[in-house]
């Protein structure tokens, strides 16, 4: 029915209106941006405190961790900016307001997510870029054109991983009344994505690589840039991981939407 171009156009129209409407709440926007800023700094602060007591964390220096963290911040921004409405899904499903998303001749995931555009996520994105640039200067990384292209590709894939993990967690709302802890756990686990995966052993490393692939949000792809000579072959799969995982997520979402029976009224 609608082409990709139609959808982009529609998204643009809806979001400009949405941003206009949000801008009326200026205080909210400013406070939220400050909140976002603080929460961005918190993990950096933790790295800083920890590495004040020890020389390195599992072989990674402070500045290398900062680089991973910058990568992470950029990678989680698309989720924050474009898919933020997933947090509301529990309410929509419980109160029956989710019904309205069925009534338009549109892709439902698109229609649902288009209702929120999180401007403050842009603060996070900007902070991530600054941190990444700062760390790569301090680390003396050498950016050639192919490497920049590789960076963009891996960031794209990493953000798909983050989107998929969160949306999958949100989809639990279609089957259980109290899906909040699932999203909560996904949110909490996310905080560990910028940590080096080699602090984990056996089962956990396996889990964060293959089951809840948090490792692909930041740590694995960053290795391509931090130690390009010495990466495991796994890392080269990271673009595929993002796309594959998103396909799975979309499938689960569709299942959920089809099985939702709505509240009686």
């Amino acid at each position: 029915m609608h082409s990709l171009k139609d959808y982009l156009r529609l998204y643009f129209i809806i979001e400009t209106q949405y941003i206009k409407a949000r801008m009326q709440y200026r205080a909210d926007f400013i406070i939220s941006s400050i909140g976002m800023f603080f929460s961005s700094l918190a993990t950096l602060g933790i790295f800083w405190v920890i590495l004040g007591s020890i020389p390195d964390l599992a072989g990674w220096s402070f500045m290398q961790l900062v680089f991973i963290y910058g990568f992470y911040m950029i990678a989680i921004s698309p989720m924050q900016i474009l898919f933020d409405h997933i947090w509301q899904i529990r309410f929509h499903v419980q109160q029956g307001t989710f019904l309205k998303y069925y009534f338009r001749p549109l892709n439902m995931m698109f229609y649902y997510m288009s209702e929120m555009f999180d401007i403050k996520g842009l603060t996070q994105l900007a902070a991530g870029i600054v941190i990444l640039i700062y760390a790569s200067i301090r680390l003396d990384l050498d950016w050639t054109l192919p490497r920049v292209a590789l960076l963009l590709l891996t960031l794209f894939s990493a953000s798909l991983v983050q989107i998929s993990i969160t949306v999958l967690a949100g989809c639990a709302a279609f089957w259980v009344l109290d899906a909040y802890p699932v999203l909560g756990l996904a949110w909490k686990l996310r905080e560990f994505a910028p940590y080096p995966m080699n602090i984990f052993d056996g089962a956990f490393r396996f889990t964060f690589t293959f089951i809840i692939p948090l490792g692909f949000v930041a740590f694995y792809p960053s290795q391509l840039f931090l130690q390009p000579e010495d990466v495991s072959s796994l890392v080269y799969f990271s673009p595929l991981v993002g796309v594959g995982l998103f396909a799975l997520t979309y499938w689960v979402w569709t299942k959920g939407v089809n099985s939702y029976t709505g509240t009686g009224s």
């Binding site: 809806i14 209106q17 949405y18 409407a21 019904l99 309205k100 069925y102 001749p105 009686g264 009224s265």
Partner: protein
């Protein structure tokens, strides 16, 4: 081929039986026993293009569930359902283009946006061309004169204003069929009247098929030629409104608060009414709530105004209300064989 074709349609829900009280809630933590609700239990009807059909029944009858199936939200448990030749659940996006839906008090407009922006977004979604869009907006504005509200955020509209906008929006893309689930719920008489005239006009303009559920029999009377009565998931009546009209159209209940009310008052009242209007007066009397006496009158036999005048001049009356017969009473009368 009719526009909507339904045969032996069923929908079952599985519900967890919750136990009562604190200890029950604890036990529910670990085990659940489920029971099945047959919300729609074998329903068949056909609706032709251009009809306005009133789909009515008491609470929990299965109206909304049927509509959810017709709009492609719910998958039927069994039976046959086609809208415009297709099964809605399997062709949701395609079907959405030819349908309009309004679900009670839940708006489908963009909560934070000005009304007009919602309409503009819908214009893009349904690819409505500018000419048709302008024509629709003009016509809608002529009918209800809401132009002044266009720049207001949807969230700030009153319930009635929002409902009018929602209804208008559901017709914007010139759908073949519009489903209105309780469009007048919680609204006052004047807005109700406006909504009825808008629905009627929009139906006339493009010969749009409309399926309407409501608890207000006035809506049905004003709009529909045909009604379908459903109760407990089964159809009780499907046909011309005129026959049903005789059931609820003619009846009114006069609620009276009579001075110095005693048990004997009811008897005196009954006696005096029989004396005045004869044995075949079609009036029944009951005390429903404290202090209120209900006098239900069949207007085909005795004019309400006569009864009212008579009572007022013979008894001291503190307060009077006139109410239409309720949905539940209609259904009860249908069960009692009133339409046989």
């Amino acid at each position: 081929m009719s526009l909507i074709h339904i045969k032996d349609l069923t929908k079952h829900f599985k519900i967890l039986n919750r136990r009562e009280g604190l200890s029950g809630a604890f036990r529910d933590l670990f085990s659940g026993n489920y029971r099945t609700v047959e919300a729609v239990a074998g329903v068949s009807f056909d609706i032709e293009a251009g009809e306005i059909v009133g789909y009515i029944g008491p609470n929990g009858a299965g109206k909304s569930t049927t509509i959810k199936m017709m709009t492609g939200i719910l998958k039927p448990t069994g039976g046959m359902l086609q809208v415009n030749g297709l099964m809605p659940y399997d062709n949701r996006i395609r079907q959405a283009q030819i349908m309009g839906v309004v679900f009670g008090q839940r708006t489908q407009l963009w909560w934070d946006l000005p009304v007009i922006e919602s309409f503009k977004i819908l214009k893009e979604i349904y690819k409505v061309d500018q000419k048709m869009f302008d024509r629709h907006m003009d016509m809608f504005n002529e009918l209800v004169g809401l132009k002044a509200l266009y720049s207001q955020q949807v969230r700030t509209l009153s319930l009635g204003q929002r409902m009018l906008c929602d209804i208008s929006a559901s017709f914007l893309h010139n759908p073949q069929v519009v489903f209105l689930d309780e469009p007048t719920i919680g609204l006052d008489i004047s807005i109700k009247a406006k909504i009825r005239s808008v629905i009627k006009e929009l139906n006339r303009e493009h010969n749009t098929t409309i399926i309407l559920t409501t608890h207000d029999l006035g809506d049905v009377e004003a709009l529909c030629q045909r009604i379908i009565i459903i109760d407990k998931g089964k159809i009780l009546y499907d046909g011309d409104i005129k026959r049903v009209n005789a059931l609820f159209g003619a009846y009114r209940t006069l609620k009276l608060q009579i001075d110095d009310f005693t048990a004997a008052t009811l008897q005196t009242l009954t006696g005096k009414l029989t004396e005045k209007f004869g044995a075949e007066h079609g009036i029944s009397i009951a005390e429903t709530e404290e202090l209120w006496t209900d006098v239900t009158i069949d207007q085909a036999r005795t004019p309400l105004s006569d009864v009212l005048n008579f009572v007022m001049s013979n008894f001291g009356v503190d307060d009077v209300r006139i109410v239409e017969i309720s949905m539940e009473n209609v259904v009860r009368k249908v069960y009692d064989g009133a339409l046989k």
